[in-house]
Symmetry: C2
Subunit: 371 residues, 2 copies
Amino acid sequence: MPPPVTHRQLRLDADLPLDCGQLLPRPVIAYETLGTLNHARSNAVLVCHALTGDQYVASTHPITGKPGWWTRMVGTGKPLDPERHFIICSNVVGGCMGSEGPASPHPDDGRPWGLRFPVITIADMVRAQAALLDGLGIETLLAVVGGSMGGMQALQWAASFPDRVRSVVAIAAAARHSAQNIAFHEVGRQAIMADPKWMGGAYPVGSGPANGLAVARMAAHITYLSEAGLTAKFGRRLQDRSGKSFGFDADFQVESYLRHQGMSFVDRFDANSYLYITRAMDYFDLADPFEGLLAPVFAKGKARFCIVSFDSDWLYPTVESRRIVQALVAAGRHVSFVELSSPFGHDAFLLDPPGLNGVVDGFLKAVEQGG
Amino acid sequence: MPPPVTHRQLRLDADLPLDCGQLLPRPVIAYETLGTLNHARSNAVLVCHALTGDQYVASTHPITGKPGWWTRMVGTGKPLDPERHFIICSNVVGGCMGSEGPASPHPDDGRPWGLRFPVITIADMVRAQAALLDGLGIETLLAVVGGSMGGMQALQWAASFPDRVRSVVAIAAAARHSAQNIAFHEVGRQAIMADPKWMGGAYPVGSGPANGLAVARMAAHITYLSEAGLTAKFGRRLQDRSGKSFGFDADFQVESYLRHQGMSFVDRFDANSYLYITRAMDYFDLADPFEGLLAPVFAKGKARFCIVSFDSDWLYPTVESRRIVQALVAAGRHVSFVELSSPFGHDAFLLDPPGLNGVVDGFLKAVEQGG
């Protein structure tokens, strides 16, 4: 039986200060919770979602009808267990599933913010989450957990609110976006902005740049998978066994798969949100305030860290996790680091839980026991 | 002093039979030659170009004004030396620099072929080159040389015309396109076809889908470079040292570089040609006629082979070259295989000649000496 889930939206009490210098006027944050906050308020776990994720971490997605994106990790008997934890997952600010973002109505005129929405950062996302926790009466998190951009937020928590986190789990993440990461995102943004239906970001709700967004998703999706994984799953197999079409239809299964990924994505995601969130990721570099040094980022607080990478992840490869671990150790922090073997590339954090679950479960239980 | 270059177009004597089953009516082939064919007609070297290359291998490009794309390899004192060799480089059939392609006038109505142009293959490109050589009175090639898609053509020569090639030099190539290779090409094609100016391929000359083609080029360009190379060249450096714009302009140098790559490409390349040539590459699998076995492909002829890969090339990684070498050895062929170390990724075949030139020079001189 799936755990009971609560969906809510909270309009923050105060304007949200942003890294760009602007204030976001009392933004709405949409979130899902599972489990019960204990009397000591010591069992709260914040799950942070990835670029195209949302708050539906363990409940049916209202648009796609698919199960929550991390039901392999979150649920009764799973490492994040509503029997034991009060689990919170909120849609990032800038997102499009109920939190304030470019598709939300602008307070002045009720029309979508569009490009009037301020450019946000990973630190802004975390600041919004902290304000949400304030609203929920939660001072300290047992753990902040996330993969990919979710892992970036988890690391940012340790930097921004070191005294509010007892542990940080960052999976398939990095402490900065590389030139190649930025390059792939820029291709996606250019694909969106090249679509005439983008209209400088001022497209009407429901008729955005679907073609451009689909191309952006296709390009990104390749980076989530490994070359070996693509070969194992599709190889050069044709859609039609009778042969090639000698045309431009999707002859190869991998083409058909990619087209499907692109087309289905546009039903559930806002193109402007895609611009803003990729921008936030590109801007992410935890070491920025310390002239490129990462260890000082983690100087404060007492959080324990669990860093997990996957050997076939070429988007945020193990070398980026090692860099984080080195900084944590240099900062005198307690860190558990595991590189897992998986054929699934970056997407392994969603798809490959057997090894991952054991690691996260053991780490969290040790934190709970104060070990 | 640059060697004298001859530019010509030849309309073939006969229709060109294609793998798709159609005949291409007497196509025009544009080519450049350097050097002089000797009396024995034994010094002809065919250079095959890559996806976005052309016949301007060692002379100024008429559109960009840039030097020929392989002046580091071709020229007096270089491995391909017009003092010694008669060097031929032709624009592939399906191309857009003078050879018959989708932008050429259709023989029936004089309007561009557009999507009426038949889908071509790497073997069709090679068949057109062989017909060109027939027209030039050249029966046997001292060598056929190419990198990337040029290397695919060189390998195809050994398969299609084993008795007409004395040696084959295939650099940064593969004997088939992988699922990941196909996936990246499909993103590019979708970007072009999503551009409303593509008009089902029937755009007027000079007003094609520039935005879509630029996005396609940007996505492809990332695959030509290595992650380490991008980091070394750009890292996270900003265009404007004073800081981030908190907008969607090109803040990072790598973004600006990519945008330039995309924008400058559309001045010199036809979008439909991009569709056709990427399709030809995706269809390429030398082992297709032998149920996936590669050794039988190389059973005939006496050509010697030189196979070169680069350690940072993740588009056609060394493992693909090793597969070719294994098949060649299994087929009893003489093969020299070198993996070169380079930071430049796939583009190393254009950029990194010191090691490469020594290998190609030594190999070709041994072939010339009948060694």
